[in-house]
């Protein structure tokens, strides 16, 4: 049976790299969820050329609409059990812009904090009765403490961490494993404009750690991903 892998925010660089590693491991059925259909299609093509035995589906979704997210989770769960759910989407907002304009701050907290929580919640409800499965949520070391340079982003990621902690507690008696991954600064397009990007963790290394962590069912939050 091919693994069914759902990736939320499939166009993110870390998600794309994880998908390539999973595709290289063998037959998988990817459900790639994102906001832009063309970009998702390009990623689906890439995975298929890399591993001819994978199949791909793409889904677009409003990432801030709880109803759309609930419906998506129901529709996907109806088609069969899910082996892996990776919640990987996010943006890196400009802290100063958030301070100047609360609409920007709200949107940043919505997409980086509430939205991942919505996805995790919607899918956990569908997955918790499965006999196995992994739920992976990408947080950030920025959520560990507030800093003046990025506390809007940090607050949103802090929400994700607390949410994951609660979910983990709830899943303790189930066969579902939850991993909260907190990468440090990583060489992705999101950080490309930042000084010293060459000193950040390489994307491949972070994705490799995530994929290995999921396989080993690593205790959440322990994932050694801070660089």
């Amino acid at each position: 049976m091919p693994k069914r892998i759902v990736i939320i925010g499939a166009t993110s660089a870390i998600a794309q790299q994880c998908a390539r590693l999973w595709a290289a491991e063998g037959a998988s059925d990817f459900i790639l969820v994102g906001r832009n259909a063309d970009k998702l299609e390009a990623i689906a093509q890439d995975l298929q050329v890399r591993s001819p035995e994978v199949t791909t589906h793409t889904e677009t979704c409003d990432f801030t609409d709880p109803i759309a997210i609930t419906n998506l989770a129901s529709a996907l769960a109806e088609q069969g059990p899910l082996d892996i759910l990776l919640v990987a989407h996010g943006t890196l907002p400009d802290q100063q812009a958030c301070q100047n304009d609360l609409t920007i701050a709200r949107d940043a907290m919505l997409i980086n904090g509430l939205s991942p929580a919505y996805f995790a919640e919607a899918f956990v409800g569908k997955m918790q009765n499965q006999t196995s499965g992994s739920l992976v949520v990408i947080g950030s070391v920025a959520g560990d403490r507030g800093r003046q340079s990025n506390y809007v982003y940090g607050a949103a990621k802090g929400l994700v961490e607390r949410y994951a902690q609660g979910l983990e507690h709830r899943l303790a008696d189930t066969r579902i494993n939850l991993t909260l991954v907190k990468p440090g600064p990583t060489q992705t397009p999101m950080t490309a404009h930042m000084e010293g990007q060459d000193k950040m963790a390489p994307l491949e290394q972070v994705a490799g750690d995530i994929v290995r962590g999921v396989k080993a069912k690593k205790p959440r939050r322990r994932a050694r991903l801070v660089n």
Binding site: D46, V49, A192
Partner: protein, 434 residues
């Protein structure tokens, strides 16, 4: 603005860096404004990949494979894909890039822009010979396809065109069939240039890969280690897998580790070690083709002042004298490095207007940057190359005089008509006026 250096680490320069990630969006990203330059992995040694105080369009985010035709072995991919990733995906499927340079940590776009060559030039030519078509974005918004049938002149201008004709978004590459990732290799010591030329001549017909390491410090006669190899055909057993272990040169040492004190003894040791090990062996294609790829950031070993590489090619007629002359100059100067390669190119003309390979003999050496003394040595090497009717490899260069560039690349004037006025590099300003 971020500081960017090239592989030779001769200096760090401010660049306004923009990331290209989406091939549909890229043509708009490169339009208008101050001139920019596509930048892949930064493996060019000198100034061909730099555009100080200007824009750099980083391409490694354009890393998607688009289509593969398993009948013909043709791959369409984005220009930021690493050669390493193509090899790793396709070797298990029985296909491989026919031509790769001494590192696989370069992008497809960079390999086209420098028309890189490998150890099997006499069989497959250079990277450009494997390019079936490209999609090229110009800074005026035009996106054009160039292939043997459609806009072939744009293809010849872009192969070896140093990124100056536009930004390559996609390429269609011809792969070659392989039965396994292993090569059967033979290592032979040689103790004179004549012996090298005999080995090179005798190996061409029966061996796909030929290359040699040369000891640039030996006082009596040139000596070195000749390596030749063929891909293992059929299911003739297996071989060792590469360890995959990577080491990083952890910091830039305060002085070059390659210096007068270290060089001669190292070369001596290396020569005798390999002479002792000479013979047949089976090797995986990665350690054979890319011996330095597991030593990350090895370019730091030359210290804070960085290093130059000098790579020239001279035509076969007069090659012996020219190579001997260059080696004499290098030995007398006490400069140079243990990274020294002597190799013959096959008798074939390259496709690119500014392609480097030509029928003849190429010598490549690293030189720790010792300022004026190093530049003086290069002037003496230049005159030997000029005299012999040879040329210098732009991908490695940071200092050749414009006049030598013009003499070595007779199709330069034709090339200039294909330049994109919105693209400029430190090298193009140095050698072509803008």
């Amino acid at each position: 603005m971020s500081k960017v250096h090239s592989w030779g680490r001769l200096g760090e320069y401010n660049h306004d860096v923009e990331v290209l990630r989406d091939r549909a969006l890229a043509p708009r990203q490169i339009q208008g404004g101050t001139p920019g330059l596509a930048f892949g992995m930064g493996r060019s040694y000198g100034d061909s990949c730099l555009n100080p105080d200007g824009k750099l369009w980083k391409t490694p985010g354009l890393d998607k494979l688009i289509r593969f035709d398993p009948e013909k072995g043709r791959l369409v991919c984005e220009a930021g894909v690493l050669l390493r990733d193509i090899q790793r995906v396709f070797v298990p499927q029985g296909w491989m890039l026919p031509v790769t340079p001494g590192t696989q940590m370069v992008t497809v776009g960079g390999a086209i822009a420098n028309d890189v060559h490998g150890k099997n030039h006499h069989v497959f030519g250079s990277f450009g010979d494997q390019v079936h078509s490209i999609l090229l974005a110009r800074t005026d918004g035009e996106v054009l396809r160039a292939s043997v049938d459609e806009n072939p002149d744009w293809l010849s201008a872009t192969i070896g065109g140093l990124g100056l004709t536009g930004v390559v978004l996609e390429a269609e590459l011809q792969l070659r069939k392989v039965d396994s990732p292993w090569l059967d290799a033979e290592t032979l010591p040689y103790e004179s240039l004549n012996e090298f030329f005999e080995l090179a001549g005798a190996s061409e017909a029966a061996w796909e890969h030929t290359v040699s390491w040369i000891d640039c410090m030996n006082t009596r006669e040139a000596r070195g280690i000749f390596m030749r190899a063929n891909h293992v055909c059929g299911s003739l057993g297996t071989g060792p897998m590469p360890s995959g272990k990577k080491k990083t040169m952890p910091f830039v040492p305060p002085v070059s580790l390659v210096n007068k004190l270290s060089l001669a003894p190292f070369n001596q040791l290396y020569f005798y070690l390999n002479k002792w090990k000479a013979g047949h062996s089976r090797v995986h294609y990665e350690p054979f083709n890319y011996p330095l790829d597991n030593l990350l950031e090895w370019n730091r070993m030359y210290g804070p002042r960085g290093f130059y590489q000098y790579q020239s090619v001279v035509p076969f007629a007069g090659a012996r004298e020219a190579i001997r002359g260059q080696l004499d100059e290098i030995r007398r100067s006490g400069q140079g490095s243990f990274l020294a390669v002597l190799k013959t190119f096959g008798d074939r003309q390259p496709r690119g207007l500014l392609s480097f390979p030509m029928p003849g003999v190429t010598l490549a050496l690293d030189f720790p940057n010792r300022g004026q003394r190093t530049l003086e040595l290069f002037k003496r090497l230049d005159s030997i190359v000029r005299e012999a009717g040879g040329r210098i490899y732009p991908a490695k260069d940071a200092r050749m005089p414009a006049e030598l560039f013009e003499a070595g690349y007779p199709k330069l004037h034709e090339f200039l008509t294909y330049r994109d006025p919105g693209i400029s590099s430190a090298m193009s300003r140095r050698l072509m006026g803008y």
